[in-house]
Symmetry: C2
């Protein structure tokens, strides 16, 4: 369930009529399409969460059920030339598990719809499923069903079910002014790993290898997500899949709050620092705009700082307080002197517009 | 969750090593692929149903949850030239609901993964969702999430969740010798409707129109499926999506029983009779091999004949007793004199092999 932004502010203003004559999908882009379809504005009964968060939530007798669907299209989300089928399979499941992590949910099971060109080698498909199986075993999410067909290019869609904490799923829309903003692990490493692959650099180079691995075999923060949800510590949560700045923007818009990110607090890993220097890339930009990092970005009450730190220790995951929530709107990046650093807008990944 | 046949008999014999060197997906076909991946042989804990039935089943505190995933690829499952986007959307959801019906489950919600070519008109997509919405409202299955991307050809994957009866889902694998075999409604009409569309006949012709409608707007037998499940009447059940003969074969193989179908008992509708004559097609072949009919094929104990008839009356659905279950294997078609009519094998629809 990718971001179908429920723009609180936008919903309050009068709607402009949607003119669609002659427009193509490419014209409106992914987010425009979801807006045009009105998917973010649908009403659901109490206890339900529809499109717009990391997963949908359905009420159930004990723990609510989280459902998340993602699709991976060859040439858009992966290329057969830069990743092995086993890596593609592993990652396909891992990134969906990250959506469950961001709801604080425990994986139950998944289904897959897969379309392959008829001339694709069977060994490729077997290796894809080997990668899926590896992630399924590592994170406890068995394959229970699916469907296959043929297609001109490879197309995969996974749907995962998860069990939320009894107190419910952690949403994107429930941050409150005065709270702290946290990030698990660090961001930018996956983006640097992708740059290594795309530029055809030596992925076995010891400076690059860990970043490439991070890009190809992300680790969903399932344990931390559940712990934060179970103990009611995270007041809102999202996983970093579009980029830290953009994903912070989702929390900001959906919660109707502003988020202050202190650039100096962002955790810069030594590995990223070294690789960025070699690649001639700005680590700050990688940390802020790199997608597919699959860390958890969440808010928590200031009085829970000690408990949040404990949760990180328990789950053996670094947690960094990177900013605060304020009464306002949008995401503001501050330098060491507290002065705003301009954030480029529209740097997010749009599956219809970006050509890969 | 399409048929991943758990061939009981096959599993008892020694396995031949799977040689995959140089084989393509097209070589092994859809069912061969699932066998090669070993998806039908996986073990699940008690209370779980994995691949191989109309839906997977997950245990839950009160009613078990059914999950079914289907994919629709342009050029394989639909063509933009023969169906409108609204018809495609309606049907996409309706056929998945039929899988829930075959488990005796009540729809809860669905998600969709959709990939579109960037040059596709936005109005096409809006009409697709209009069709989806129509079916969602008609059968009570709201859209709760999804994902979109671009792709060379249109690709849709739907995942539905359903609530099973408390006593559990009705499986394909639980028919017993001595039971009766039943069919809801009638088969062949959808196949005739497809022939009308494929041959470019006048779909507004009063002889053809109802069959085309049946093909484009199938009605999942949700009410009947639930009633049969709730009252424990159906001992096994499947929906007719591959063709009556082939779907009977799934029950036969998975239950380890033989099925006797009496040709004379098969319900031939006046509409099919008239259309088949005009099209020069054999109605019996249409009734037996026509896929996408979305009727329920189920078994029940002989002592429940009256109760089964009552369930049909209650759900305003014709139910016909078309045969019996016997100790044996495979599906046998008998003529009016009780003599076997040879059934062509391999007439089922294989998404990798069949070129459309």
């Amino acid at each position: 369930v990718r971001a179908v932004s429920r723009r609180r502010k936008a919903a309050q203003t009068s709607e402009s009529p949607v003119t669609t004559g002659g427009l193509t999908i490419g014209d409106v882009g992914e987010f425009g399409l979801l807006d045009a379809l009105g998917l973010g504005k649908r009403k659901f009964r109490s206890g339900w969460v529809g499109p717009g968060d990391d997963a949908a939530v359905l009420p159930a007798p004990e723990n609510p059920i989280a459902v998340t669907t993602d699709l991976l299209a060859e040439g858009v989300h992966f290329r057969r030339t830069t990743a092995s089928p086993r890596e593609i399979g592993y990652k396909a499941l891992a990134v969906n598990l990250s959506d469950l992590a961001a709801m604080g949910a425990k994986p139950i099971a998944y289904t897959i719809a897969a379309a392959f060109p008829p001339d694709l080698e069977l060994t490729w498909v077997k290796d894809l499923y080997r990668g899926l199986d590896e992630a399924a075993k590592a994170f406890g999410c068995p394959l229970v069903g699916g469907d296959t067909s043929r297609c001109a290019t490879i197309f995969l869609s996974l749907t995962l079910l998860g069990q939320c904490a009894r107190r419910g799923a952690v949403l994107r829309s429930t941050a409150e002014p005065g709270e702290d903003l946290y990030l698990s692990g660090n961001t930018g490493e996956s983006a640097a790993g992708l740059a290594v692959l795309e530029r055809g650099e030596d992925r076995a180079d010891p400076v690059f290898a860990p970043l490439v691995l991070r890009h190809l075999r992300p680790t969903p923060r399932l344990g931390l997500g559940r712990e934060l949800a179970r103990r009611g510590l995270a007041t809102s949560m999202i996983d970093v899949s579009d980029g830290l700045a953009q994903d912070a923007g989702h929390i900001s818009r959906m919660s109707g709050v502003g988020l202050r990110v202190e650039a100096e607090r962002l955790p810069l890993s030594a590995a990223l620092s070294a690789a960025a220097a070699r690649l001639g890339l700005d680590p700050l930009i990688l940390m802020l705009s790199g997608g597919e990092e699959y860390e958890l970005l969440f808010t928590a009450r200031p009085e829970d700082r000690k408990s949040v730190a404990e949760a990180g220790l328990l789950c053996r995951t670094d947690i960094t307080r990177i900013g605060t929530v304020f009464e306002g709107e949008s995401v503001v990046l501050l330098d060491a002197d507290g002065k705003p650093i301009p954030l480029k807008t529209g740097t997010g990944f749009d599956h219809f517009r970006q050509r890969t």
